[in-house]
């Protein structure tokens, strides 16, 4: 009981947690409340005039084809980054978890992408695919006798390349965790399975994969956050949302509307929408996936 721990000081526990609570209120809850409030207004950039518009910012969002495109693009992007990204990472981690010569080198070589800043990664990928001077369009044009691969005028291609870049960028992080997870799978189980005549494919799906589920669900969560929020730098460097809004993901659109177009009302409404979507995803995640994860052996 708390009273026993702090005899005679009923308020001390509250005092002790006050700093953290204050930080959370000042930096998280406060701004959050303010942005909900602002989402019902439009105002001039310098705040010289503010008009209450009710739900108009929200109605505009959902009736705007651009915003709906942005939602679709975000989900496509997130699906690619999460599903393809995690599958490839798991496959690579499985390969790295073997006794082969020079495994340390391979491990480092595949993990270091995580250490690259989004800016550098963006510049590398953008220059690789630059339509007029990039290496990849050059090779493709030589191989196909003159086909121009121009992602600056092909929205789906641009989204695909950005998604590949984002997946590549996250690969290292995913591999580290999968590798750690794989190394925690007790070898006796796998040996026992092998003695019973299970193929390595079967052993993987029946033993390794279920035992990895805490790692997988953790990575799933981190990758969802990554795909929704942390790809800003990559997009800003590579495409700035173009061509024709094709790579304008939700979080990037929010930034442009709020900080470039100085339209705080719409940006606040967008931030609330993203908050809502992410909350739903997080709840589903925690309810279903984590409950199914096997934490005990």
């Amino acid at each position: 009981m708390n009273e026993d721990k702090f005899p005679g000081h009923n308020f001390l526990p509250y005092l002790l947690i006050a700093p953290s609570v204050a930080v959370i209120f000042i930096f998280l809850i406060g701004p959050f409340g303010q942005s909900i409030y602002e989402s019902f207004f439009v105002s001039t950039p310098f705040g010289t005039n503010t008009i209450y518009v009710g739900l108009r910012n929200y109605i505009r969002l959902f009736s705007s084809p651009d915003y709906l495109n942005s939602v679709t693009a975000t989900f496509k992007f997130a699906a690619f980054v999460i599903i393809i990204g995690l599958s490839i990472s798991l496959a690579i981690a499985q390969l790295l978890n073997q006794r082969i010569r020079g495994v340390g080198f391979y491990q480092v070589a595949l993990i270091w992408t995580y250490a690259i800043s989004p800016t550098i990664a963006g510049v590398i990928w953008a220059s690789m695919f630059s339509p007029a001077t990039g290496l990849v369009p050059y090779i493709i044009s030589k191989l196909s006798s003159g086909y121009t691969l121009n992602w600056m005028t092909n929205g789906q291609l641009a989204l695909f390349i950005v998604a590949v870049a984002a997946t590549w960028k996250m690969l290292g992080y995913n591999i580290i965790f999968f590798l750690a997870g794989l190394q925690n799978v007790p070898n006796e189980f796998l040996e026992a399975a092998r003695i019973d005549g299970a193929s390595s494919w079967k052993a993987f799906w029946r033993i390794t994969f279920p035992m990895l589920s805490p790692t997988t669900s953790f990575l799933l969560f981190v990758n969802i956050l990554y795909a929704f929020f942390q790809v800003f730098g990559l997009i800003d460097i590579m495409t700035r949302g173009g061509p024709g809004n094709a790579t304008e993901l939700l979080v990037y659109k929010l930034y442009r509307d709020g900080f470039i177009h100085l339209n705080t009302g719409s940006a606040s409404a967008q931030s609330f929408v993203i908050f809502f979507v992410i909350s739903v995803v997080a709840i589903i995640q925690l309810r279903i996936v984590t409950q199914k994860a096997i934490y005990s052996r």
Binding site: T44, G47, P131, T153, N154, G155, L262
Partner: protein
């Protein structure tokens, strides 16, 4: 306990010392200046400021690079309510109406009067000051002004069997030359542009065609855009056709196309004149420059100004304002304007600087630097359409135009539909702006 007492004493002494130096030594007045100049321009700007500080001991201008133009404007907007903004801020030409409506600035034409001076504004190059003037009064100090022109690779022209002294003057010729280039196999694509939104504005302005109503937003806040007529559709049609033929390759929204031109991947480039110094320095071929291509048979207008200008924050002390004014005058000074022009390719703002450059043979040494002047001084400047566009939500509107063009080029929409869709989105933004500014 003793330690704490000592510490307190030291603290008090330090404070006294700090306060006394302020009164004993005459500290120079600090003028903060937020700007968006990066790359080679930064070095030129910094050396100009260092010289100013050395020659003006009463003032200390402290420049701060605050990111891109858009980021600089955002920082200024957020700093304004807490009065932590700079004395001077550089804003790009698209932000002009935002600044005029901000209530946060002192128009530069009022400054000499506030300090008991008179000033002759006609000493600056008129088409440039016109852009930043409201009812004939200059609101911001032109600093880095540019316009768009055609760059071409003379060596590639020779290789393709074309006369290097005959660059295309019309869009029809752009197409003919383009076809010859493709047939010769010298290049895979013939031309690209920077800033497609601005290049579109130029196409309207040089044919004296309005972009928006209310005289391009210059005689009152614009209510709608007026470019989506036959002429506007023709521009989009032409660009899309050239793109589909492989002549035009889309080169991003700012300066990405420059590298393709410099490396000889494309033969022509329509870009800001401010890239001139950089392109000449970086390319190994002979660079030619010429006027922005025209559509034959349409009226003559003028190419318009882009770049940035300097805005002065309202509510400064007289001392600060005097320093700001000294600095602004200094930038317009003949030798400084020349230094700025030679280092960057931006227009020198003063007419006197122009004459000196001419006299010392700068233009005959490299005629490429002359093109921009001839272009801007040979056009008309008595109409709103040829002076430039001023719209409140211009930054966001330009993006609508670029995504419209991108959709047309990608074949997602027909050029006409793409332009109409862009116009519709832009009109909604204008309507919202009018609502906020109560008209």
């Amino acid at each position: 306990m003793k330690l704490r007492k000592n510490f307190l004493n030291i603290l008090i002494l330090t404070l006294c010392l700090l306060l006394s130096t302020g009164t004993v030594l005459a500290q120079p007045v600090t003028i903060t200046f937020w700007h968006a100049m990066s790359g080679s321009r930064l070095g030129v700007l910094e050396s100009i400021i260092d010289d100013f500080n050395a020659t003006h001991p009463d003032y200390e201008v402290t420049p701060l690079f605050t990111g891109t133009y858009a980021e600089t404007l955002t920082k200024y907007v957020t700093a304004y309510p807490s009065k932590t903004g700079p004395n001077i801020v550089q804003v790009y030409e698209v932000g002009t109406q935002t600044m005029i409506d901000s209530g946060a600035i002192t128009p530069v034409y009022e400054i000499p009067g506030m300090l008991g001076e008179t000033w002759d504004w006609a000493q600056y190059v008129i088409p440039i000051t016109n852009y930043y003037s409201v009812d004939g009064n200059l609101w911001s100090m032109p600093f880095n002004s540019s316009t768009a022109m055609l760059y071409y690779n003379k060596d590639l022209f020779k290789e393709a069997g074309l006369d290097p002294n005959k660059p295309p003057t019309t869009w029809k010729e752009m197409e003919e030359y383009g076809e010859k280039f493709l047939a010769s196999g010298v290049v895979d694509h013939v031309y690209s542009t920077g800033w497609p939104d601005w290049i579109f504005e130029q196409a309207l302005a040089i044919h004296d065609h309005l972009y928006a109503d209310n005289d391009n937003g210059r005689s009152g806040l614009a209510k709608k855009v007026v470019f989506n007529d036959d002429f506007g559709h023709m521009i989009f049609d032409t660009w899309t056709r050239l793109h589909n033929k492989g002549i035009y390759i889309f080169g991003g929204t700012e300066y990405d196309a420059n590298s393709a031109f410099i490396s000889g991947q494309i033969a022509m480039l329509i870009q800001s004149t401010s890239s001139l110094a950089g392109i000449i320095k970086a390319s190994e071929f002979e660079v030619g420059t010429s006027f922005y291509p025209r559509f034959e048979g349409y009226p003559v207008g003028n190419s318009i100004i882009g770049g940035g200008s300097l805005w002065v924050t309202k509510g400064q002390s007289e001392e600060e304002l005097r320093g700001v004014w000294e600095f602004l005058k200094y930038l317009g000074q003949e030798d400084i304007a020349i230094q700025w022009h030679k280092g960057t390719g931006y227009f020198p703002v003063s007419g006197a600087a122009l004459k000196t450059l001419l006299d010392e043979g700068w233009f005959s040494e490299d005629q490429a630097y002359l093109t921009a002047f001839l272009q801007i001084l040979s056009g008309r400047r008595d109409t709103a359409a040829s002076t430039g566009v001023r719209l409140g939500p211009f930054v966001a509107m330009r993006e609508d135009l670029v995504s419209g063009l991108e959709k047309a080029l990608a074949g997602e929409l027909s050029p006409k539909d793409a332009l109409d869709e862009a116009a519709e989105k832009m009109n909604l933004k204008l309507k919202d702006y009018l609502e906020l500014y109560g008209q």
